[in-house]
Amino acid sequence: MKSVAEIARAVRSGECSAMQVLEECLAGIKAQAAPLIAVTRLLEDRAREEAGRIDAMIGNGVDPGPLAGVPYGVKDLFDVAGLPTTAGSVIYAEAPPAAADAEAVARLRDAGAVLVATLNMDEFAYGFATINAAHGTTRNPHDPSRLAGGSSGGSAALVAAGLLPLSLGSDTNGSIRVPASLTGIYGLKPTHADLPLAGVFPFAESFDDAGPFTASVADMRLVWEVLSGRSAVLSGAAPRVARLGGRFRENADPDQLAAIDATAPDAPLIELPDIARARSAAFLITAFEGGNLHREALAREAMAFDPATRDRLIAGALLPRALYEEAQAFRAEYRARIEALVADFDVLLAPATPCVAPLVEDPRITIDGKLVPARADLGIHTQPISFTGLPSLAVPLYRPGVLPLGLQLIGRPHGEADLFRFAAQLEEQGIIGSGPPPVAV
C-alpha cells in the first residue's frame, strides 16, 4: 500500500483514479485481512460512492482535497451515517443508525478520503488487548500468535499489515499508543480534546481523545493538519529534549532505553513526580466514568456485556462519587505541577509499552517482576501521560525482523508540530520507522 501522501498526489494529478485505489485496497483486505480479525464491517457501497464522487470532482476540474482517494478505516466507535455505532458491543448491534458521520470522519471525507471499514476494539474501549467476545481477538501482523494491543487494535493491525494507509482510533489511557507500539506504526494521542470527539462513543470523558494511525511521520502530519484544521508550523530552532526517568526506565525494554539514550545522549533525565499516584488516580477516574456511563445498561442487562469488561464496569459503577472527586482534584493539581516542570522542553522521550506484544494464548506481561494481565497493564507508560493531557506521538523503533517496539515523543500542550519535526529527524536518521511485517498475513 502506498503512503497517504503518495495516493493523494496520484489521485489529484489524475495518475490513477480513486476507484482504482479503492478496488486495489478492497481486494487486499478481502484476500489478507481475515486472519487478523481486525475488520468488523466492510463498507463497500459507501466506499464506492465516495470514490466515485472524488473521481467526478477530478473530472470536473475540482480538487477533492489533500486526502484525495485515500482509503481508511475507523475504530468501531466512530459514528458512520446510516450504521449503528456499536463500540464493539453486541448491546448496540441493533441500535438506531447514526444520523451523521462523526466530526473526524466528516473532516476526512471533506478532504477526499474514502471510508472502507469499521475496525475491531475491546468492548467500550476498556482494555489494551483487543480481545473482543463478539468479534474475536485481533492478531498482530508481525506475529499472528501475538496480540495487536488495544483498545484500537483493529485500526493498528490493518495499517501495520499494509492493507490501509490510514485509520482512526481513540486513546483514553493509551489505546492508540499501545497498539501502535506493538504493531510498529505511528499513533497520535493529541493534546487532550484537541481533535474532534463529536460522534465518538465515549469511554471516560476526562481522558478520551481521537487520533490517527499511519506508517510515516509525513502522513501523520498531513492527517493531523486535516483533522485539526491547522498547519503544523515547524520552527527552525533545535527542539529542547529531555528523557523521562524513574518509573519510565524501570519497566522498559533495553532496546527502548538504548534508543532513547542514543537519540539524546546529552538530554537531561527528568523524573515526573508521583507517577504511580497519577496512574492510580487515572484508574479510579476511568473506572468511575466508564461504570457510570454504562450504569443503566448494567442494571438492565449486565450479562450481555463482554465478560472481559463487565466486572470492571460494574466495579466502577460502585465507586463513591467523593473518591472520584478526590481523584479529579489530585489531577487538576498534578497537571499544573507537570506543565510547570516540563515547560522548558519541547519533547520528552519515554517508552510506549514496557515490552513487545504478548502471546494471545498467555496475555500477561511482567511488571516489577510480577506477571500481570496485559489487558490492564500494557498502558503503564501511556496512562500517566493521558493524566496530564499532554500530546504524545508513539513512534516505532526501526528494527526489521524483530517484534516491534515504540517510544513516546511527548510534547507541550498544542506542541504537536514539535513532535512531528523531531520524529522526522529520527526517521531520517534511521532510528525510527515502520518496517513491513516479517510474517505474511
Binding site: D311, A315, A317, L318, L323, A327
Partner: protein, 81 residues
C-alpha cells in the same frame, strides 16, 4: 490510614476548613475519606444504591476489581499499595 502527601493533605484541610462550621464543636465527626466498598455488605449496599443487581457469575470478578481499585485509592493517597 497511610500518611497523605503534602498537596493532598493541604487540599483536604482546605475543604474541611471551608465546610460548614459547628460540626466538630457539636460533637459531629469530620467525614472520613471516601472508601471503596469491599465487604459483601458494602458491595451489596453500593450496588443497591446504583440500581444494579450483581449477577452471581460476576460477584467474584466485581469483588476482585473493587479490591484492585481500593489499592489504587490507597496509592493515590500516597500509600504503598
Amino acid at each position: 490510614m497511610p500518611r497523605a502527601p503534602f498537596f493532598h493533605q493541604l487540599r483536604l484541610a482546605v475543604s474541611r476548613w471551608l465546610a460548614p462550621r459547628g460540626g466538630e464543636a457539636a460533637g459531629i465527626a469530620v467525614p472520613e475519606l471516601a472508601q471503596v466498598p469491599q465487604t459483601p455488605e458494602e458491595i451489596d449496599a453500593a450496588a443497591a444504591a446504583a440500581g444494579i443487581v450483581i449477577p452471581e457469575a460476576c460477584a467474584p470478578g466485581v469483588a476482585a476489581n473493587l479490591a484492585l481499585l481500593a489499592s489504587h485509592a490507597e496509592r493515590m493517597r500516597g500509600g504503598g499499595a
